[in-house]
């Protein structure tokens, strides 16, 4: 199989990741629930995970790194911490349902959209500048669009939020591991990210970096202050109720070590290089529209004239190429870019993707598009 769906989950992992997760399953017990060596080993792994994440993502204090089950979990905590009934929230035009659905579920929340044109970072920034009015209680922006790979001007948006005193939540789902992500430099209230994409951890892992005030989403045992019925008011315990995913944390730690060793800049150069190579090939196929721009990460989307995106995705799958077609859980991004009715076929790469795979997939896609046209 040629796997070009790394924006959903990186499938090929460094060997150390499954090894660490498997070893943890039979050697590590519940962290913070006992003083025996198996519990201490688990606690040590969790702490090393926080410590490395703090180093990679500009968090001064490892206690402010929360281990979550995915980016959505972290975003829900962040949103519930900052947004309440009657709040006004400003979001970008490229947000995922992981942001829009939690907001929709809260009563009487007004959502404003700073919708700038696709691949126009200045236009997006201007939209935020215009819409960030004093009534806005929180700002949410993804670093990279999961549909188009559009790198949003988060540095400038963060500066604007600091200047106007608005707390910022950054969804780093598509950038952690490939672009510089820095909670401290941004002065963000929260940064949420998955562990299973660019950090090469197992599914069921994620990180929430906390720069601001927090509120628990789940309530339960934490292994601390057990006599009290209130949740602890300190991190990470306040946001980590219940037994944690130690096997996941062990794998995530191994994944982050790989990212650190390989280097974020090198991984990004590799992925964007492959993306450009494939975009060049697909752009030459009649009837294919490639969505590309100057501020783009290692993923991109295409549409095909007179061919349903799901049909194209299924035809690729049949030939052994894994991609994702449809709306990618981001109808807002498609609406902003004008592809809501058609959807798109998305190609995304990882540190393990190769030029040979890319060329082969491009050739097969050309074949599918050409045959589709001839069949009609």
């Amino acid at each position: 199989m040629i796997y070009l769906d790394s924006a959903a989950t990186t499938l090929e992992k460094p060997r150390s990741v499954p090894a660490a997760a498997a070893w943890a399953m039979t050697h590590m017990a519940s962290p913070g629930r006992g003083g025996h060596p198996a519990s201490a080993l688990a606690a040590d792994t969790m702490y090393r995970c926080r410590e490395l994440a703090a180093e990679l993502f500009g968090v001064g204090d490892p206690e402010r790194v929360i281990l979550t089950s995915n980016a959505t979990h972290g975003l829900n905590i962040a949103i519930r911490s900052l947004v309440e009934r009657g709040s006004t929230v400003l979001i970008s035009g490229y947000e995922h349902n992981a942001v829009t659905r939690p907001l929709y579920a809260l009563p009487d929340v007004k959502v404003k959209i700073a919708a700038g044109p696709l691949f126009d970072a200045d236009g997006v920034y201007e939209a935020f500048r215009r819409e960030l009015t004093p009534d806005v209680d929180a700002v949410i922006c993804n670093h990279v669009s999961n549909v188009f790979g559009f790198v949003q001007p988060v540095d400038r948006i963060a500066a604007l939020c600091r200047e106007r005193g608005a707390p910022l939540i950054v969804d780093a789902s598509q950038s952690a591991g490939t672009l510089p992500v820095d909670l401290g430099r941004w002065g963000a209230a929260f940064v949420a990210m998955p562990g299973h994409k660019g950090l090469y951890g197992p599914q069921g892992t994620g990180l929430l970096l906390c720069g601001g005030e927090t509120r628990p989403l789940l309530y339960g045992g934490t292994g601390s202050q057990s006599r009290l019925q209130e949740m602890p008011d300190f991190l990470p315990d306040q946001l980590e109720a219940g037994t944690q995913n130690v096997c996941g944390a062990a794998g995530l730690l191994a994944g982050m070590r790989f990212v650190k060793e390989r280097g974020i800049g090198r991984i990004r150069a590799h992925e964007t290089g492959l993306a450009r190579r494939m975009m060049d090939r697909l752009a030459a196929v009649p009837g294919v529209t490639v969505y590309r721009g100057p501020d783009q990460s290692g993923l991109f989307s295409v549409t095909v004239d007179h061919m349903d995106c799901e049909e194209a995705g299924a035809a690729l799958a049949k030939r052994g190429v894994a991609v994702r077609a449809g709306l990618h859980c981001s109808p807002l991004a498609h609406r902003t870019a004008g592809t809501e009715e058609s959807g798109t076929v998305r190609f995304s790469f990882s540190a393990f993707s190769t030029a040979r795979q890319t060329d082969r997939a491009a050739g097969l896609f050309r074949q599918i598009v050409t045959q589709g046209k001839e069949a009609r």
């Binding site: 913070g32 490892p62 601390s224 006599r227 009290l228 300190f234 315990d237």
Partner: protein, 84 residues
């Protein structure tokens, strides 16, 4: 042996405390807080040797993590709070 127990609010804080001490060349081990000194139930502390307490407190103050409480653990297993 006489030890001092630096009481921490959470396991993670205890781990961070031990890590900071280790970086400063001071050995400290994370242990569950004895029930007698853990009034809120289930706590953690960092145990340091008697001779290291002064240096440990200095390091923690310098790092902006002054301990909430410090207990002396006597050779007989009796705990008594000492000024932090």
């Amino acid at each position: 042996m006489v030890y001092y127990l630096i009481v921490c609010r959470s396991l993670t804080q205890a781990q961070r405390t031990a890590h900071l001490l280790e970086r400063a060349g001071i050995a400290g081990s994370v242990i569950r807080a004895p029930k007698l000194i853990s009034k809120e139930g289930c706590g953690y502390c960092v145990r340091v040797a008697e001779r290291n307490l002064t240096d440990a407190l200095m390091v923690l103050r310098r790092e902006g993590m002054p301990p909430r409480q410090v207990f002396l653990q006597s050779a007989e297993g009796v705990y008594s709070e000492v000024p932090a």
